[in-house]
Subunit: 466 residues, 2 copies
């Protein structure tokens, strides 16, 4: 008994020694690197090693690393630390990053750590955590530079030098009314640097009003604004024109890339994963994919109903079935082209909700011409196969070719029109137009496409094959 | 004769007076706005009015407006100006913007204006224009701040004050070796501001080496680097470590958004438009859409060939045709889910080319489970319809249900696998993985899906229906 206990203890001791040695080795290798590179290196290590390396780094560097929005280990590392150490780090992190960490932290660690923070920090974090995800409010940080309009450029520069370390950016300075604290102007550090120190701060302000955003503005709109005005940060103000915080350009880039991923995954016909492909759990991924796949499947079942409805015609003219996949997919393809065009144009505000009829007037002739091109290809194929003897489409092959050609014109026109209108309908109904995925559009058009195909066939082949 | 000439002249005079009046009105209204808003307002006006308004604005504002990367009128406005005026503006624009304008300008205006620029500007523009599109070289500007490492912080700040107006950004300062002009460090204005003026400039430098990019690096990779290291600008250096220029974060945001649009349009199954939906010409848009649509159509023709191959079976078991659209679309949907996941994960470098087998090992079981879910749904539907008397699938309906269920498992597994491998194959073959559009994947899987369906049917229904 004693022996085994000793062995187990020895093994634990060995492990501790090994972790410490590995940590010292890693720390020596990466200490001089860029914080983002240190974070990437820590991501590769075991959590115990990573946490030991982090502890061995200078305090300032610890904060810099934990502050990186892409550093996924931050939460785990902080939870692994002794309480005092964790509280100290959380208080020194930028407010938006600390709020993010609490957003993802699990109970009971979350409540436990939160309750031990200074009351002022708790209040600040609660304010940040109250904004819905993906809004300016949820992205903003409260660590910005603001000065009263009564100050000079020199006063402001002195103030910036004193508080630089505690602010996320010092490149934009917000000038407030000394009495009401309303936002008067946004001044760039660039203008301050070239200004005369004894001049009032407002002399460095631009002629136009400051660009501001509402805390509930969607991150896509904030990104567009920052891009349009080439800003490094944009202030978030409330109804009383008080500055609640600022959204910085680097947080915005991360948000745009994340938004792009979400849109791409939705357009591919699934829920956004919210996690890297290789890191998300097997079951979590299945859940995100199975939902939409089943809904699409149930929708597509209508094609079976449509086919059942035309079963008599199918039996009489089996030749018609040969072209069902070809015709259905052409409708779906033209529809998903149109949908992807319009989703993107809506997202970039190239077109507005009210432009739907302008789009419809463009898509109708586009769809018609595209359908005519595919229809011609289809009829040519049937003619060549028939005349060259590759396949016999029966005595009425000319009528069959005419059916396929006409159906393609009708379905591609219909597909382009439906595909382009769907994002408008979704936006109008309050949904994200990006939910109109390619598979969704294709499913929608498949069912109607079948009906169109058989209706055209009935019209053209009535009295001959049907 | 005299009378009509007078009338025509009068009318022209009237028009000129009208344009001038409208221009004065617009100028008065927008002069105090942000340059980006003035640009937006000018975009709404007739070119003559816009050009008159621009001419009436202060020189500095003219440059600010023409410098905006989104201001599409810049080229037209400059071409409309007298030569001297155009040359003067082009020389004062930021180098990257001037290069962009020349890239888009049409002959003969292009050569004519270019030849009249000062030789130094010509040489600089030629260097910028020589880099391929979408590379760091084509995005960079040459207007950055660089100082020799022998200077102090105070020297550098004085230098910045003197040259601020001619630089795109002053927030990153590049410190060069005085002798070789090699890049030694990148210092932020933030560190300078809080430093002691008499200290050497390198005392404000970070411990890590500067982050740099190669002029041929793709804009997506530059964006990822800027985002990873939270930079406001990144220097572009050649093989001799000389700084060629810098790429700034605001140019990068525009590039990321453009890249997102291109990817979305490609995934929708078409060539990237490169122009806003409402602005691109009808024929130009048709060309971008018809190409892929026709290629997909030709590919989908193979479904007709596959069906012809199984025509005997179809005639004997018409009930099988009822489920063709359902089964085909399920394969396509699961495939486009997998493709969109992998394209994005590759673009974000979450997975590497060498990870293909890891992905395959994940997609095989995922596909199997998803297929089992859809297969169960399909068999349930057939059973309910049969037992409730909605439709009669014949005496062998149990076998038909088994065929549909098994085919779904096989096709969804196959679709997920093919869909996830396709981006790897494309990347390996040197293509953009984003060219694997949803319609492309669906078409590919449709053909194989039909073959799988009929093979499963032959195996299960042999001796009964077939």
């Amino acid at each position: 008994m004693d022996d085994t206990r000793n062995t187990a203890e020895d093994r634990r001791d060995d492990e501790i020694v090994e972790t410490a040695a590995r940590a010292a080795h890693v720390a020596a290798e990466i200490a001089e690197e860029h914080p983002a590179d240190i974070a990437a290196a820590l991501d590769e290590e075991e959590p115990e090693v990573a946490s030991a390396v982090l502890a061995s780094l200078p305090r300032e560097k610890q904060i810099e690393i934990l502050d990186l929005p892409d550093f996924d280990l931050s939460g785990d590392l902080i939870e692994a630390l002794p309480d005092d150490e964790a509280i100290r780090l959380l208080s020194e992190l930028s407010a938006d990053r600390a709020a993010d960490l609490f957003r993802w932290m699990e109970e009971p660690a979350r409540s436990h750590l939160f309750s031990r923070l200074p009351p002022a920090t708790q209040a600040e974090l609660n304010r940040l955590l109250s904004w819905p995800e993906h809004t300016a409010g949820s992205l903003m940080t409260t660590e910005f530079v603001s000065v009263p309009s009564s100050w000079t450029i020199g006063d402001t520069l002195r103030h910036i030098r004193a508080i630089e370390r505690t602010r996320e950016t010092i490149y934009a300075i917000y000038v407030l009314d000394p009495a009401t604290h309303k936002l008067l102007q946004a001044v760039t550090l660039r203008r301050l640097i070239i200004g005369e120190p004894q001049q009032p701060i407002l002399s460095a302000a631009p002629a136009h009003d400051p660009i501001t955003v509402d805390p509930l503005m969607d991150r896509e709109d904030v990104a567009r604004l920052i891009s349009k005005y080439d800003l490094l940060a944009v202030p978030v103000i409330d109804a009383n024109e008080q500055v609640l915080g600022i959204v910085t350009v680097d947080d915005m880039i991360d948000a745009i890339i994340e938004e792009g991923t979400e849109d791409a995954q939705k357009f591919g016909g699934m829920e956004a994963l919210d996690e890297p492909y290789m890191e998300i759990g097997f079951l979590a991924m299945l859940k995100k994919r199975a939902g939409w796949l089943s809904i699409l499947f149930l929708g597509e079942m209508l094609t079976a109903s449509a086919m059942q409805h035309f079963e008599d015609e199918l039996e009489r003219a089996i030749v018609l079935t040969l072209f069902i996949p070809l015709i259905m997919s052409s409708g779906g393809n033209s529809g998903s082209q149109a949908t992807s065009l319009i989703i993107r144009a809506l997202a970039l505000h190239e077109i507005k909700l009210g432009d739907w009829w302008r789009v419809a007037l463009r898509e109708l002739p586009s769809g018609f011409v595209l359908g005519a091109i595919l229809g011609t290809l289809g009829m040519t194929r049937i003619t060549i196969w028939q005349l060259a003897g590759f396949h016999d489409y029966g005595e009425h092959w000319v009528l069959v070719a005419a059916t396929v050609g006409s159906a393609l014109v009708a379905i591609v026109t219909f597909g382009s029109l439906i595909g382009s209108m769907l994002p408008f309908v979704l936006r109008r109904a309050g949904f994200d137009p990006a939910s109109a995925s390619a598979p969704f559009v294709a499913t929608f058009i498949d069912v109607t496409g079948l009906v169109i195909y058989f209706s055209v066939a009935l019209a053209i082949l009535h009295g001959t094959l049907l």
